[in-house]
Subunit: 485 residues, 2 copies
Amino acid sequence: MHPDAVQRVLGVLLMVFSVTMLPPALVAVVAADGVAEAFLMTFVLLLVLGGLLWLPVRQSRRELRIRDGFFVVAMFWVVLGAAGSLPLVIQNAVPFGFVDALFESVSGLTTTGATVLTGIDSLPLSIRYYRQQLQWLGGMGIIVLAVAILPMLGIGGMQLYRAELPGPVKDAKLTPRIAETAKALWYIYLGLTVVCALAYWAAGMGAFDAVMHAFTTIATGGFSTHDASMGYFDSALIEMIAVVFMIISALNYSLHFMAWRWRSTEPWRSDPELVAFLTVLGIVIALVLGGLLIYQAAHSLLLDETWHHAIFQVVSFATTTGYTTASYYVWPAFLPVLLLFVAVVGGCANSTSGGLKVVRILLLWRQGGREILRLIHPQAQIPVKIGDRPVNERVIDAVWGFFAAYVLLFVLLMLVMLAMGLDQITAFSAVASGLANLGPALGDVAANFASVGAGPKLVMCVAMLMGRLEIFTLLVLFTPAFWRR
Amino acid sequence: MHPDAVQRVLGVLLMVFSVTMLPPALVAVVAADGVAEAFLMTFVLLLVLGGLLWLPVRQSRRELRIRDGFFVVAMFWVVLGAAGSLPLVIQNAVPFGFVDALFESVSGLTTTGATVLTGIDSLPLSIRYYRQQLQWLGGMGIIVLAVAILPMLGIGGMQLYRAELPGPVKDAKLTPRIAETAKALWYIYLGLTVVCALAYWAAGMGAFDAVMHAFTTIATGGFSTHDASMGYFDSALIEMIAVVFMIISALNYSLHFMAWRWRSTEPWRSDPELVAFLTVLGIVIALVLGGLLIYQAAHSLLLDETWHHAIFQVVSFATTTGYTTASYYVWPAFLPVLLLFVAVVGGCANSTSGGLKVVRILLLWRQGGREILRLIHPQAQIPVKIGDRPVNERVIDAVWGFFAAYVLLFVLLMLVMLAMGLDQITAFSAVASGLANLGPALGDVAANFASVGAGPKLVMCVAMLMGRLEIFTLLVLFTPAFWRR
Ligand SMILES: [K+]
Ligand SMILES: [K+]
C-alpha cells in the first residue's frame, strides 16, 4: 500500500463527487422544492473533506499499484455510497434515518435500484432527480471498473478479456492510460443515454421523465420517478424501447468500443457471450410467455397484452435492470423464481448489469462438459474453449473461485436475513436481488424495502456492494495477507 | 461397452436382490400379516428375470471396464429401485400406485428416508420391516460404491482417495479385488449395526425396533417404524446413542477399515475431513442451541429439554440421516433452513451420508483461499493442500465440476417443482432434501410426501438418484460421447 497515493485519489474522488451535487441543487432551485440547501451543504462538505485529504499529499508522485487498486475501488463505492446519502440525511423534509438514506444511496450507486421509498411520485422534484443521477453515475463508474480496472486486478476471471482490451491492461501501473480508455467509454455511455432519452421522448414520455429513465435504463439501474415504475406509462412502445436499450447496456462495452473504433459490427457478431446471452433471453421469454398463457387458460383469465409484459419483464430481469410493469410477483410461483435465477446469471461481462455474468456461466458449462469427457477418456488432454480460443487454466480457477464465493455468500447472507426474522421467501429473494444488483424481490419486499428493519437493510447494503465489486475486491481487504508488507 | 459383461452383472444383481425378499416374507409369515405372498411373488419374479438375463451370457469371460462401470452402477440403483417397489405394488392391502411405491423404494435404497406413507405404526409388520431393510441394503451398496468404485471412475474428485485406498483402485479392471474390499467393509457395516442394535435395546427399545432403527441409523437412512420417528421413544439416552452411531456412519469408511486393519486410532486422528466435520457439527449445535434459547426467552416459552433436541436434530441433519424428534419445521425460520444447508454440505466422503461431502467443501474453501492469495501475489505458485498433501489440479477441477453440476441441477429441479405447482418453500426444501439424500423437508412436505402429486414425486426420485450417484455417474450416460465407440 502507498497511503499517499491512496489518500490523493480519495481526496480527488470526493471533490469530483461533490460537484455532482450541483445539478440536483439547480433542479431544486428551479422547482423551488426547498431541497437546494441540502444539496449545497453536501457539496461544500464533500469539497472541503476531499480538499483536506488531497492538500497534504498533492505533491506526492507515487503511482497506484495493483494492491492499492483493490482499496481504491472498494472505497469508491463504500465512501461514495456514504457520501451520497448525505443530502437525504440533511434534508429534514424527507423523514428517514441514516440507514434508509444509506440504503437508497448504495442501491443507487451500485445500480441495484431497490428502494425504501414509497410515494415517489410526490417527492420533491430534486430528490426524484438525484436518485436517477446517482444510478447514472454509478453505471459510469462500473463501466470503467469492469473494462479497465477489474481485469487488471485479476478479479473473478475478468482477465479473460485482458489481451483484447483497449486499455492499460498489461501494465502493472494503474493510472497511465485509464483516463484515455475511460473517456472513450464515457462518450459511448453518454451517447447511448442521449439516444435513449430522445427515443423515450419521441414515444410520448415527458422530457423530464425521458431523461430520468434514460439515466437508469443505460445504467441498468431500474430506479424510476414513479412508484409504478415503467408500468406508469402503460405503453408497449416505450417498453420495447426500454428493452432495446437495456439489452445494449447489458452487452460488453469493450465490444461497443471496438465496434465504434473499427466502424464494424464484427465485434458483436463474433462474440460467443453475446450469442449465449441473446439465446438465453429468447428461451426464457418463450418459457414465461408459455407459462403465462397456460396460467391464463387454466384460470379463464385474459390478461391484457401478455406478450409485451413477458418480453419486458424478462429483459428487465435478465439485464438486472429491475424495472417492472406487471405485478410479476403475483404470477404463478414458477415465473418470479425463474426471473430471479435469470437475474442471478445476469448480463455480459464489462457491462453495467450485475449477476454472475453470462461468460462465467458459459465457462463453467464448458468445463462441466470437459469433466464428463474426462470421465470417459481419463487420459485425454482437453482444453476449455470460449469461441476458438482455449482459456487459461488459471482464469478457469478464478471463475470457480468466484462462483463458490458467490454461492457461499448467498447462503451466509440468507441465513443472517432469516436470523433477523425475515421469512424464507423474502430472505432468499432479497439476497438474490441484492447480490445480482437487480432491485425487485419477492415476499415482504416485493414492492419496496420500507417494511423491513435496519438490520436487513444493512445486510442488503453489504450484498449490493459485494455484488457490484465482484466479491473478491472487497473480500481481499479482509485478509491478513493483503495488509502484510 | 461390453453388453455381455453388463448383462451378466445385472442378471446376478437381480438374482441376489431377489433373495432379500425372503426375510420380509418370513416376517410376514411369523406375523401372519398377509403380505407373505407379495414378497414371495417378487422373489420368484426377480429370480426368474435375473436368471433369464444371466443364462445366455453365463459363459462370457469378458471383464467389466471403466465405461461399463458407470452403466452398472447407475443400473444398480435404478433397476433395484424399480424392483424394490414390486412388493408394494403387488400387495393390494397397501393401497398406493406405482409412483408411490417407486418413491418409497428409491427413497429406501438411496438411504434418503423421505416417505409417502402416513400411519406407519399400523402398517403390516413385514412392510415396516421391509422399508428398514431396503435402507440397510442401500447403505451397504453405497459403502462399496463410494469406497471401491466411484474413486476408480473418477467421479467428482473422489479419486482424491485413490492412492490410499485398500482396493483395486489403480487397476483399470473393475472386478478383481472389489469382492475382497467389499467383504471387509461389510463386516464393519454389519458389526456397527449389531452394536448399535444392542445399544438401542439396552437403552429400552423393544428388540424389533432396536434392530429396525439400527438398520437405518448405520445406513444414515432415517426410515422409522413409527410416524413420530425417533420422537416416538421420547428418550434422551436413545437419542444420544443415535447421535454416536450416526456420526460414526457419516465418517469415511476407509478410515474405519484402516483403523481396524492396523488396530490403531491414527487414521481417524490424522484425517482433516473428520476434524472439519466435527468442528462444523460443534459450531452448528451451538448456533441452534443459542437460537432456540433466544427464541424461547423472546416468546416466554420453556421448551422441554432443548439441549438434546438441538444436538440430535443437528447431527441427524448433518449426517443426512433425517430422523426427527422435535417438530423442527415450527422452529423459527432461521433454524430449519440452517439445518437444510448443513445437510447439503453432508457428511464425509466414503460414508453412507449424502450431500456435497465435507472434503469437497474443504477443498473449495482452500482453493478460494488460494484465489485470494493469487490476487495479492499474482506470480506465486501456490498448491492447494488437504492436510500435508498437495492436491492434484485435476482433482480440484473435478470437484468444481461436481459443485457446479450440483448447483445447476438444484436450480433446474426447483424450477420444475415450481412449474408443477409446488410453493417456493416446498420446492426449495424438497429438492435440497432429495439431492442430499436427507429425507425431511419443509412446507407441504414437512411431515411426508403424501400430499404432493405424481409429478413432484418422480422429480424427487430423480433428485434422490442423482444425489446418491454423485450426479456424474448418471449424467455421463446421457452424453453422446459415452455411447460412441
Ligand atoms: K438494477
Ligand atoms: K437420509
